[in-house]
């Protein structure tokens, strides 16, 4: 029914006493996420939304057997928080903050790989499995519904737009994964697609990409292994070269990272590529029939 995140996932919130941490803890609980603890140094003993607060991840893991963590601390403290989670046995780590220095992300991703942990983000809206009634992220709760479509996106609000259009078209989602808008993030399209391949309940996949990097090209060849229909929508055809379009990763540099080569590669390996977000739902319906 989902990938990576299920109803059994026991979640802690790092930075739970901040505004963002508090607000999204409430939202996650409302969606059904099993949030078992929160971290805020020197605030152990407090409760936030009925969730016990601990000084350290170690104490939280010891007390709650948590295996996943969502990080809300400010960017300068994110590497510390990520390593605290990883070194204490957390194996699914969602990194919400944006503006984390790339060198820090490199270290986080390398360490996670060495330890066999999965990092979602940084600069992500998170991951949500509607059928499992659980999410780790900041996405609005009401736009998703359970179903057979896997969604993997680099961008947040744009993925909401598309998920909502799928929901409105009665095309529910198995899991929606936000890879994050930074140059270096934990996942690639390939790693997420491989999870979707293994999930029997995911019948088709929507890829939401954008300019910058070559993640889409790299993924194109993998589509044949995936063996499930794919609809791809990529943003940024109106973007000029050399300008960073908001995301640190969304920039056409020295001729690389344009939409043309991305779309061409995806089409060549069987993806249905649409050029406007409102065309996604119809394309999904057509590839599934």
């Amino acid at each position: 029914m989902s990938i990576l995140l299920t109803q059994d996932t026991r979640i802690i919130v790092q930075g739970i006493t901040g505004n963002q941490g508090r607000f999204h803890t409430r939202q996650m609980l409302a969606f059904g996420s099993r949030v078992v603890g929160g971290i805020s140094p020197t605030k152990s003993g407090q409760m936030v939304e009925g969730v016990p607060v601990f000084d350290t991840v170690r104490q939280a893991v010891d007390a709650t057997k948590a295996d996943a963590s969502i990080v809300f601390v400010p960017a300068p403290y994110a590497k510390d928080a990520a390593f605290e989670a990883l070194e204490n046995g957390i194996r699914l780590l969602v990194m919400i903050p944006e503006h984390i220095p790339v060198q820090d992300s490199i270290d986080i991703v390398a360490r996670a790989k060495a330890l066999g942990a999965t990092v979602i983000g940084p600069n992500t809206f998170g991951i949500i499995s509607p059928g499992e009634h659980t999410k780790m992220g900041i996405m609005p709760n009401h736009i998703y519904q359970p179903g057979p479509i896997g969604v993997v996106a680099r961008s947040g609000t744009l993925s909401y737009e598309i998920a909502f259009s799928l929901t409105n078209a009665q095309l529910g989602q198995s899991t929606v994964v936000g890879m994050g808008g930074d140059p270096v993030v934990g996942q690639t399209f390939i790693t997420v697609l491989e999870h979707f391949r293994q999930d029997p309940d995911t019948k088709a996949v929507v890829m939401v990409g954008e300019i910058g990097g070559s993640a889409e090209e790299e993924a194109a060849e993998y589509l044949e292994t995936l063996g499930k229909p794919v609809v791809a929508y990529l943003a940024g055809r109106a973007a000029p070269a050399g300008k960073r379009m908001g995301h640190a990763g969304a920039i056409i540099e020295r001729g690389r990272g344009t939409l043309e080569s991305k779309e061409q590669a995806l089409r060549a390996h069987g993806a249905e590529v649409v050029t406007m977000p409102w065309q996604v739902a119809e394309a999904v319906r057509s590839v599934m029939s």
Binding site: P76, V102, I106, F125, G236, A238, G246
Partner: protein, 370 residues
């Protein structure tokens, strides 16, 4: 954030990498003095545009008098839209050979990547793949001296140049790592008198890491308007169309530009109002859009964290203060959609719920405004 050549070279020097003698030129007198001090020199405009040389941004001076004249000509000149305010005078080199070396982040590998080539002096994109040595760095290990020797050996270097090159790889990685660089590149890496010298250098720093580099000279290469919006803390890029755009989220903003183009319009800017911007900054940003005198304004909001009523309030605030004297199209869905739409409606603004319809309408209104 890109650094001017002279800043990049200053960083190389601080790490012990040889650079040619050079000095800054702010006045024609500086130009004369520079040539008097360092001899025949290249005067290079300190601007962040590509193809600087071809555009007349690099000129030579043999004598102090020529140095004065060239500086006089160049200071204040327009280079691809940027006014030249600063020159860097640098000793002319008797270059024997040109190599290439850079350290950057490989997004797919999620690791630092060292690239080197014997074919220096041209853009690395134009060098054939089999002429480039690529070496990935394990971030858990970093670059120890052996790593530099492996790159030097892979290039087939020998003797003094082998040793100097190997040493340089270590230092370049230190800069990349310690200065939080996105790119540090020496091209050409010249051989002069049998020794390596960094003839030209690029240094791009990670904006997100600037907070831990208080000593760095902040260079905002943006236009005046771009700099203004960056100060509000929002991502903003000026484009050459006539429909001003505000959306929440970078992907949404890009998709909005795409939609305008799709319907035959031309976007005037990229503006990401953020995933959860509050009334104040949103109003400020909208104010900037109004000040651009576009033919139309398109606001495209999918409320997740962003609350639609906050966006509506921001619009109304601008309308009531500075006024919005151009056609405004608002698309508003998601969190607190009803409240937001009602607020707008009360002020006479109709909100769309479909992005396609809103984009099409904005394009239509812009065309009518011509």
């Amino acid at each position: 954030m890109k650094q001017y050549e002279y800043l990049a070279k200053g960083t190389l020097k601080a790490y012990g990498i040889p650079i040619p003698p050079g000095q800054l030129v702010r006045t024609p007198e500086d130009g004369a003095e520079a040539v008097a001090t360092i001899g025949p020199a290249a005067l290079k405009a300190q601007v962040l545009v590509g193809g600087r040389g071809k555009a007349g941004g690099i000129r030579f001076a043999q004598t102090p008098e020529e140095g004065r004249r060239v500086a006089q000509d160049m200071l204040g000149m327009d280079l691809k839209g940027y006014t030249v305010e600063l020159l860097y005078a640098e000793s002319k080199l008797a270059i024997e050979r040109e190599l290439y070396i850079s350290v950057t982040t490989d997004r797919n590998a999620k690791k630092p990547l060292v690239m080197a080539s014997l074919a220096g002096g041209m853009e690395i994109e134009d060098v054939a793949d089999d002429q480039i040595v690529k070496a990935y760095v394990d971030p858990a290990v970093g670059v120890l001296p052996y790593f530099g020797r492996e790159v030097a050996a892979a290039l087939g270097l020998e003797g003094t140049i082998f040793k100097e090159f190997a040493d340089l790889v270590v230092k370049l990685y230190q800069i990349y790592r310690e200065k939080d660089a996105e790119l540090v590149e020496i091209n050409p890496l010249a051989v002069v008198d049998g020794h390596l010298v960094a003839a030209d250098a690029r240094l791009n720093l990670d904006d997100s890491a600037l907070y831990r580099h208080k000593d760095v000279t902040v260079v905002d290469e943006g236009s005046a308007l771009e700099r203004k919006v960056h100060e509000i803390g929002l991502a903003y890029v000026e484009l050459d169309g006539d429909i001003a755009v505000m959306a929440n989220g970078a992907g949404m903003a890009m998709a909005t530009l795409d939609a305008i183009q799709h319907f035959g319009g031309r976007p005037a800017n990229f503006l990401d109002a953020g995933g959860g911007a509050s009334v104040g900054p949103t109003a400020e940003a909208l104010g900037v859009l109004v000040s651009m005198h576009p033919k139309a304004i398109l606001v495209n909001i999918f409320g997740g964290i962003t609350r639609c009523d906050d966006v509506a309030s921001a619009i109304l605030q601008v309308k009531q203060t500075t006024g919005i004297p151009v056609p405004l199209v608002v698309r508003l869905v998601g969190t607190n959609e009803k409240e937001g739409v009602a607020l707008l409606k009360a002020a006479g603004i109709e909100a769309y719920s479909e992005m396609a319809e809103a984009a099409e309408q904005a394009v239509r209104l812009a065309k009518e405004a011509m």
